[in-house]
Subunit: 342 residues, 2 copies
Amino acid sequence: MDRTARHSETRYGNRPTMKDVAARAGVGLKTVSRVVNSEPGVTPDTERRVQEAIDALGFRRNDSARVLRKGRTASIGLVLEDLADPFYGPLSRAVEEVARAHGALLINGSSAEDPEREQELVLALCARRVDGLIVIPAGDDHRYLEPEIKAGIATVFVDRPAGHVDVDMVLSDSFGGAREGVAHLIAHGHRRIGFIGDQPRIHTATERLRGYHAAMRDAGITVEDDWVSLGSTEPERVRAAAEEMLSGPEPITALFAGNNRVTVTAVRVIAERERPVALVGFDDIELADLLGITVISQDAAAVGRTAAEHLFRRLDGAEHAPARVELPTTLIPRGSGELPPA
Amino acid sequence: MDRTARHSETRYGNRPTMKDVAARAGVGLKTVSRVVNSEPGVTPDTERRVQEAIDALGFRRNDSARVLRKGRTASIGLVLEDLADPFYGPLSRAVEEVARAHGALLINGSSAEDPEREQELVLALCARRVDGLIVIPAGDDHRYLEPEIKAGIATVFVDRPAGHVDVDMVLSDSFGGAREGVAHLIAHGHRRIGFIGDQPRIHTATERLRGYHAAMRDAGITVEDDWVSLGSTEPERVRAAAEEMLSGPEPITALFAGNNRVTVTAVRVIAERERPVALVGFDDIELADLLGITVISQDAAAVGRTAAEHLFRRLDGAEHAPARVELPTTLIPRGSGELPPA
DNA sequence: CATCCTCGTGACAACGTTGTCCAGGGCCTA
DNA sequence: TAGGCCCTGGACAACGTTGTCACGAGGATG
């Protein structure tokens, strides 16, 4: 057993290569390549012989080698926060559909909101030479991406802006959406309105808080310190924050929830109370219609689709300056946001 | 400009290679490789020089070439039905976590319940030489996988069994879960119980129906034809089926919903009615607790984790016969399943 | 002082594919 | 009939990396 054979045993379990197919079909290597890639210049008879050899051996082209040779992987990377979050499911799916339309596969990973893990993932994807990257950033400094972008990996940031690096971005109008939602509560008579949001280092969290403040200012309402709480979206934290706002001598009469996870916990807390509390949440939630929850809805699928389309436009050679797209949000009144102050 | 240079321009945007790093550091190619891979046998001084060159050039190892050489891609493929379905989010995430623990990336795709698309995706993943595959099958004939499996691509089927091919499987106890859920309704006094499920070619759908029939038989109840409806889970279809069962002279008093999408629509239909209708759904749903929906819960994350762990055990060399694991389900009573017959 | 070992290093082939280029045969045209 | 062209097919290099092996310097040992 020579060295080559020993190797082969551990390599892809001895898969046949084009060379094997060529030998069996009695043709040259390149001819097999032509058949596999449906290139012209092969007589029907030769093609048939090659095809038979392919079927007999169970040959399948090794795309690793192909990628190495061609320099394109026909795959894009998607780094998001948590694949299990219902907001990201439709987003991934939309990205996948666009990728599929362009013949590309999707490699994705969750950063778990950890900047270090984000970087690790992104760089692993770059090492694989994905053609493009869609990133929902966890961190706020992305200078580590500079050499990669310069080297030609098209990149689009989604949902949150990139830090210190000039790339395409697709965002939702967090500021405007939150402002509209809070104004909606104010229009229904509320003045003591609470805000519970995600960690302040997350851009959407601060944007939504900014929207909250803007709406309050517009209405001439002075926001009291204990009406606002940013932090983890763990149920315990959110629950504690909500309960504190709802207790005391002068409790809030309405609550604005900064994202889907906060909304879910807020709904639970409010359901346990006797006094009704108005609620508007950012992000739509399944079954929110049945529970009568008023939300600011952002179209996750549209965000994903837009980002992916931008990416492929770049890959197809578009060379304009990086653009920043902001998608609008929609207020969906369902009852919880229209309750009057208790 | 010679041919090589012309090429380089289109290849990964002229990324530096180990050769470039070697030239700049004044060392041999292999030494760079050693530094990049933290192999022993490099003096600190040499290592420093190489590292400087790497940083200066922004070099990042090309994993495509590495893969070609090593024969392992450190990536696994996950083919599921729809990334946007809330059931698959946690499943994917669990798979991803296990993959990450093994240093592998996850490539995933949605079959959209289309057998042809499933095959296309699976074979594309095989062409990329993923180390392993986790498949939630759409079709029922997977003989096309035989050469791939023989060639050494470890494969685990999830949620639904594989057709005509002998591989590891991780399933939920659809039969037992449905049987328990229906028995629960019977225990609460129901006899006229409807069943709405997914398309009959989907294994879990028929298994759950089998569980329904078993429970009914156990209770000595004869199932009437129009109590059972299998088909698409599109809201319109489910709504029509439910409304038919709830109308007529002798309507059903309870409904068993065959999966999460059916449950969601069923809840809506029932909410519109005056007469209360008991409901038990297969799969848990977010906020089901607030809506008081009794469900048969299967732990999607556990399913994903188990499947991924099986896969990596295979990849690490386990060579036992293909196993079939069945995970138990849990009945979670929340009110809707405990309503007495109206 | 000769010999053997160890250690750091580099040359080279190989992984499986595709792009380029060339050769030979058949056909058409002048 | 000769010359040229087109069509098919194959030889070969290259993609960027890693495994193998060999080589030379320096230290240890006799």
